[in-house]
Subunit: 328 residues, 2 copies
């Protein structure tokens, strides 16, 4: 990772207008400040600002302001970068059909999310929540826990995050099957999903949100899983039919679950998800380690320099499928 | 792992008296039953039974009955096997000086304990306990957590368990230093301990309890550690001066700790250790996965056959140092 202050904006950067959406607190735009025209926008201003912008930096992955404003009148940025792995919050048919290049934050979240998933797996196997509760009660109660090595996981999503999760679990001796949109070397296609779910101790959702993945974890999927299985979602909330997950937990179709993402974020205080036995709820934080905002900024500045110099960008999203295709 | 029913006791086994200490519930002694004279003993009977026994199986690692009864009058078993990694609970000068062979359960606990430690590290890095508490309060509060890859660990104890912990942490990208009784290839000697503690994010105690290690984690050691460091004890409780650990946590000399072992076990309900902020208390269970008792029994039966056939035993403890020496 290059230090931000070492990044030299290409001369062309002077003539560029950069629109930064929903940056709170504003990212440290280092070398660009003073050398590029920078506009800060939000939901109320973006429709008006888009025609002026050459480049759009989408800083807030919770906002769907781009999707709503993009189809409006006037010129559109030639490049959109989102400081997230998923692009579901910004894509709309008009953006897909346009010549605008969309890039994402591939490279930033993989290791943190893989560690987070490994932590959830180990915490469940070793029954840390039970230990916590017994400690609160000052009770010494020995239990036998689960050996993770030799268990089986299915990781749904064969992009960089799914692959990082798979690699980390393999390092713990877990037998991992990876599933993706289509079968290819080392990746199972959708036709294998149900039988794989049936044999899995751990099921990890790490897929992008697309028309093909929306709601894929429903009653049928949870019904296929084993009563001892554990479900983890670090992808997008809409991959899961939450009502079906609740029902699967209540009926003990599955043994437990951890959700870091939700249909609606932030999760409202009155949501029934907060106190379901066996369900861990966390606030969309699995990938966010100390320093992540700096890393995202540095990555954007590196891409900006390439773009301003007319060089090819990495992390270009295939807008028709909704993620960066991996070539392997 | 051979199935117990496949183990064929050598002919000599018929003439052998096996004393099984503190087996509750009794281990499944499979093929030995009916072919070997088996005595079951406890604290109140062992002194009387020892002279009759050729072999002693110490099933309960919490009891120090052997250490107390061994110096008494009469013949002594020629072989003692303990269903534990540590032998501190049974060693006494008379046993050390004798010709009796002592073996341990090397091979059973390594992976489970390494997984447990990795789970504690990830749970602390990802702040799972805070997430748990916020979930209880139905509060959506995003936090930045810690990247584990690239952090530094010191694992104290270079035996099979310490090595397994080191390998698992390395698999997560942690930079691991291993320390032991003497410096050798890949292992730091005691002279390096203090500087290593000063630079460590994670300090894992996985050493056997010996005269050299008793109380080694004291005010001086905790004082050397960093305020962000996390201390984990999966070795023996007496490695730690608990009062000094409490004080180090209160004064924030270290950031947190997890104890699976204690000076006195079980930990009494009135112990101050149960509710120290930042301290995780678990009931000596890090190595005990489902099936562990069967694995321990199978291991003993395999060793018994070797012994009855006059073959060399694996897992022989160097009684002078108190553990199985590794040759590497």
């Amino acid at each position: 990772m290059t230090d931000v202050n070492d990044v030299t904006a290409a001369p062309g950067a002077r003539d560029v207008t950069l629109l930064v959406l929903n940056a709170e607190p504003p990212p440290r735009l280092g070398s660009l400040t003073g050398r590029t025209r920078i506009l800060h926008g939000d939901e109320s201003t973006i429709a008006r600002q888009l025609p002026e912008a050459d480049v759009l930096l989408v800083w807030d992955f919770l906002s769907d302001a781009v999707r709503h404003a993009w189809p409006g009148p006037g010129a559109r940025p030639r490049w959109v970068h989102t400081a997230s792995a998923g692009v579901d919050h910004l894509m709309c048919p008009e953006l897909t059909a346009s010549d605008t290049v969309v890039t994402n934050a591939r490279g930033i979240f993989e290791t943190p999310i893989a560690e987070y998933v490994a932590g959830l797996v180990l915490a469940a196997a070793k029954h840390f929540s039970g230990t916590n509760e017994l400690q609160r009660q000052r009770r010494w109660q020995h239990r036998e826990t689960r050996r993770v090595a030799g268990t089986r996981a299915v990781v749904v999503g064969s992009g960089p995050i799914g692959r990082a999760v798979a690699a980390t679990l393999k390092g713990l001796g877990v037998k991992v099957a990876l599933t993706g949109r289509t079968a290819r070397a080392g990746v199972h296609g959708p036709e294998d999903l149900m039988p794989l779910l049936a044999g899995a101790d751990w099921v990890v959702a790490a897929a992008p949100l697309t028309d093909a993945t929306r709601g894929m974890f429903d009653a049928r999927a949870f019904g296929a899983m084993s009563p001892n299985s554990y479900f983890i979602n670090v992808g997008r909330g809409q991959l899961v039919v939450e009502e079906d997950l609740l029902s699967a937990l209540h009926k003990r179709w599955i043994g437990g679950a951890a959700l870091d993402v939700f249909e609606q974020e932030p999760l409202q205080p009155e949501s029934p998800l907060w106190d379901v036995p066996g369900l861990v709820v966390s606030p969309h934080m699995s990938g966010d380690v100390v320093g992540w905002r700096d890393e995202l900024t540095t990555q954007f500045l590196e891409l900006f320099d390439l773009w301003a110099a007319g060089k090819p960008l990495p992390n270009v999203v295939d807008k028709n499928v909704g993620y960066v295709p991996l070539h392997d």
